[in-house]
Amino acid sequence: MTRIHDLPRPGDPAVRESTPRTPAEIALAPTIGVLGVQGDVSEHAAALERAGARVVWVRRPADLDSVDGLVLPGGESTTLRRLLDFEGLLDAVRRRGEEGMPMFGTCAGAILLATEVAGAPVPHLSLVPMTVARNAYGRQRESFAADLAVEGLEGGPLHAVFIRAPVIEEVGEGVEILARERGDIVLAETDRALVATFHPELTADDRLHRRFLAKVRAASARR
């Protein structure tokens, strides 16, 4: 459920431009779930709506029934894990991921998706073959923003905000590296997943959300 004060407002130019309005647009818009137990959920919801999706907050397993793709937002990964363990949400998300539903994880969301988390005995969802190291830059004072050159992304550099961010130490088979920051892997994808160690949802630039929606549409077309 999105609270009213979190929604983009009707006067917002970006909303006027791309939010589906006609019955046909609404019928064609994919429904994207945002894991809504903790973190910057409303920022993702607003970006997805600007990019033309319908958005559902996912807090219980049944909320997954109607979604074509799932975003795992930024937040605290240990907190997200505790909340995913409540009422079987972790298993329900993992099952949908294994069935091929596209997922987009940012920061903590990328940690949840990794098959390996450095220093942790077991991973969380274990859906994207990669090793992630938590808090890789240090504490908040080491958080930063930087402009990234992204492989295959039109429209110039991407402004990326890294907050107590992880890094992707290694990627496995089928994972393509899309961007590095001072040598560290910070953005990667598979045919079903997009993972960023930074927060595209904190800026007004929706290009990665649009790239994710393209993956969701492609996956729906294959079915």
Binding site: H5, Q140, A145
Partner: protein, 300 residues
């Protein structure tokens, strides 16, 4: 392979406000030891606040309340991987610099400690570490944001376990935002004067219908129902001070308050979470304080 980039910007408003956004929907718990910090992390807290004493004990102890001992803050930072916040006295920019040097993730310029300056708050724009500050109304929130606060919390009345002041402050701020958002542009100038707040921030709130930073609830939350109430009133998350470690069973209360905050609008889950606490008692609390005992009116 993608080309590499260099230039990094740190300590910008985007980076400082961003961390607070990652804490949304979560519970920040006051802790006074590494053991308590581990209990909080295990229960699902999004961050801990390192203190020498929880507010209820500060009230009981009397005397001057200062920042926590450095050894205590370092022990807590070493014990958990979630963000660690620490309080400094209002206006005490040297305590804040010490906490920044230690590497704490957020500094709380807090009325719970004894104020060091009754006129001036810290110039928080001058710091790399982000700050959270308390507010009882919109004007107070916007003055703190102008000084550089990257996160706001309603003050409530700390250490009482009584939600009434937190509700009063959250309802007032939300109501003042709604009122501003419905104003004619020509009325913004007088609104800025009446709120004693900078015009640019008043205009931003009027145009967006929200504060430019995250707003948590604090001061009196003692049960999962209290946390859910504050979330339904529009809080982005909650601070729990004495409510966890002054209860009969901290582990159970910590977990229940975390679940109550996440599932704040689901009465079935709230009923179950509350039932699981059984007959364990929440902190006893205070139902009334004399005006001179209030912390919320310290330096506004």
């Amino acid at each position: 392979m993608a080309p590499e980039q260099t230039g990094r910007e740190s300590g910008t408003p985007e980076v400082k406000r961003g961390l607070a956004r990652m804490l949304k929907g979560g519970v920040i718990m006051d802790v006074v030891s590494a053991d308590q910090a581990r209990i909080a992390e295990e229960a699902g807290a999004v961050a801990v606040m390192a203190l020498e004493r929880v507010p209820a004990d500060i009230r009981a102890a009397g005397g001057v309340a200062r920042m926590a001992p450095v050894t205590r803050i370092k022990e807590i930072m070493a014990a958990v991987t979630i963000p660690v916040m620490a309080k400094c006295r209002i206006g005490h920019f040297v305590e804040a610099r010490i906490e920044e040097a230690l590497g704490v993730d957020y500094v709380d310029e807090s009325e719970v400690l004894t104020p060091a300056d009754e006129t001036h708050h810290i110039d928080k724009n001058a710091f790399t570490v982000p700050f959270v500050c308390g507010a009882r109304n919109l004007g107070e929130a916007l003055r703190r944001i102008a000084e550089g606060a990257s996160m706001i919390r309603t003050k409530g009345e700390p250490g009482t376990g009584n939600i009434v002041e937190a509700v009063r402050h959250m309802r007032l701020i939300q109501g003042q935002i709604r009122s501003l958002a419905s104003m004619d542009e020509g009325e913004w100038f007088v609104a800025a004067k009446e709120h004693a707040a900078p015009l640019d921030l008043v205009v931003e709130v009027a145009e967006t219908g929200r504060l430019p930073v995250v707003n948590f609830a604090a001061g009196g939350i003692a049960t999962p129902a209290d946390a859910a109430l504050m979330m339904q009133l529009g809080a982005d998350g909650v601070f729990v001070g004495s409510g966890v470690f002054k209860s009969e069973k901290p582990e159970a209360f910590a977990r229940a308050i975390v679940l109550g905050t996440t599932h704040y609008d689901d009465p079935d889950i709230l009923a179950r979470v509350t039932e699981e606490l059984g007959t364990e008692e929440a902190m006893k609390g205070l139902d009334r304080l004399a005006a001179e005992e209030l912390m919320q009116t310290r330096s506004t």
